[in-house]
């Protein structure tokens, strides 16, 4: 038949090559703006405003990054503190979202209990709700329970996202009921079934949720929730540094490049693991 390592049976090598070429061309379009911002970050100031604009740096420099670090280390609070804040917030939000959304999703997908239909409906509606006013109401709620200016203000509100629950529920719904019945008969409780039977079978789903959660948490700024300098996460601080306009254009580009690295690293780790786990196995029903 076909090459042994092929997972699937349809398709030919010629088709693979055609797909590869098409995806490469589209991929270049996707990467172009990202490539540009990397180039901007290594251009010396005099090259930023050349005519015609160059798509590469003639004499690349790390000056923008050095300037960024110098500015950052002259701040009131040591820069490592901001890094700690961001990493701490990202880890707490990602872990909590993964655990809370998964266990709730298991209940909503696989257990029949009174109230289930209503909760499912509420989640689906919440996915569509966008309001500029919501943010103010959130502030009021947080002020009432005294969360303003604490770590809780930049972690708790970002944990229970409707998207995370909806994603996990959609995947868990595909697990055969028979598998869960069998575990029940063996005497396993809901918590055990959720974590030992269901979760290993939806690995692509929770690895994907991890990417969403971390990416979202990494961008938390905490505007108007955090006033204490020592509690601010990196994006807020970098925006403060780069807000001073065109003179800092190169430094701003450097900040953007640094900020996008952690989510990209996590993405590659999670995504290659998604591809690996499912290359050989899949659930049987």
């Amino acid at each position: 038949m076909r090459i042994k390592s092929r997972k699937k049976y349809g398709g030919s090598l010629g088709g693979d090559i055609a797909i590869f070429v098409l995806l490469t061309l589209l991929g270049l379009f996707m990467l172009f703006p990202i490539y540009l911002s990397v180039v901007q970050s290594i251009k010396p100031p005099e090259e930023l405003f050349l005519f015609p604009p160059k798509l590469y740096a003639m004499s690349p420099t790390n000056q923008n990054f050095v300037d960024l670090i110098n500015t950052a280390s002259n701040m009131w609070v040591p820069f490592s503190r901001y890094i700690f804040n961001s990493v701490f917030v990202a880890i707490v939000v990602t872990a909590a979202q993964l655990i809370f959304a998964s266990s709730a999703a298991y209940a909503l997908a696989k257990v029949n209990f009174p109230g289930k239909a209503a909760l499912n409906k509420i989640i689906e509606i919440a996915l569509l709700f966008t309001s500029t006013v919501l943010f103010i109401m959130q502030y009021m709620v947080m002020a009432t329970i005294g969360l303003i200016d604490t770590y809780l203000a930049i972690t708790l509100p970002y944990i229970a996202t409707p998207m995370g629950l909806f994603l996990m529920r959609q995947f868990m719904g595909q697990i055969p009921d028979a598998m869960i019945e069998a575990a029940h008969l063996d005497g396993a409780g809901h918590t055990r079934i959720c974590w030992q039977i269901v979760m290993p079978n939806v690995k692509p789903a929770w690895l994907t949720l991890m990417i969403f959660a971390f990416n979202g948490a990494w961008q938390i700024t905490g505007y108007s929730f955090i006033y204490n300098e020592a509690l601010k996460p990196i994006p807020t601080v970098l925006q403060q540094i780069t807000a001073s306009g065109i003179a800092r254009a190169g430094v701003a580009a450097a900040a953007v490049v640094i900020l996008m690295i952690p989510p990209m690293v996590l993405f590659v780790l999670c995504q290659s693991s998604v591809v690996e786990t499912m290359a050989s196995s899949g659930l049987k029903d």
Partner: protein, 312 residues
Amino acid sequence: MANNERSLYIEDNKFRYTILQMKRNAGVYGLIAPYFVLFLIFTIIPVLISLPMGFTNFNMAQFPQWVGLSNFYSLFLEDEVFLTAIENTLVFAVVTGPLSYFLCFILAWLINELPGALKTIFTFVFYAPTLAGNIYTTWQLIFSGDTYGIANAYLIDLGITNGAIQWLTDANYIMGVLIVVQLWMALGAGFLAIRAGLQGIPRDRYEAGAIEGIKNRAQELIYVTIPAMGPQLLFAAVMQITSSFTAGDIGRYLTAFPTTDYAGHTIMTHAFDYGSIRYEMGYSSAICFVLFAVMLVANWGIKKILGKYLDT
């Protein structure tokens, strides 16, 4: 037994059955509690307070004043900019919604046809705009209105245009530019969920398909892959609805705000204008209310269509 007595009996039974079910599944409430407590505090309660705001006059300094439907009357009968915003929002939604949904699926599927490491690389490339956060402001460099703008520089250099085009301030180009940027960013959560779903289709389904005589990729896609992807396709559809109806929001960062002649003005930016600039919270809430209603209808329609053909 008389008829109404019997229905009473059934009612009573139903109630007892519910209680029994609740007791039997008591452990489940422990599983959902952490999520739903946070969800209640940070989403449900703020939403419930913000919904009635649309029926008030609220400037954030004084206590909201109940004005009934007057905000909605103004929106549809007096506010001409709002009608432009609705039109633009629908154009965005109709163009970027279906197209981005199609791209999410087709690209995710094409990537899945490639061997291992290439899958990871291409998934990364297409998801990179979402990962890179606020990098879409780089498009300002490309579409800058002076000759320093990359698009202008190259178009002039190649002799296609004579002078600089004001991509971000000329009302003729704003929508086009915003649609291009929106599509560039469109491969987000939906795309990744479809990639994960494709990854999880059991291998034996493909084997069974091959035995039943599937000869090429197209047949495999239609008879094996798509039927196994219902839940992921629904997830992606809902995500694309949300992003396509809120699409114009990126315009606030890319173009001048508000856009020239309101050419790129959408319901979202209109709400932002009244909420965060003019502090007319009541009016802004009413605008968001309309957007929410439109999205509910779109969502309902999509679910009906997908539910007809797929097991979602």
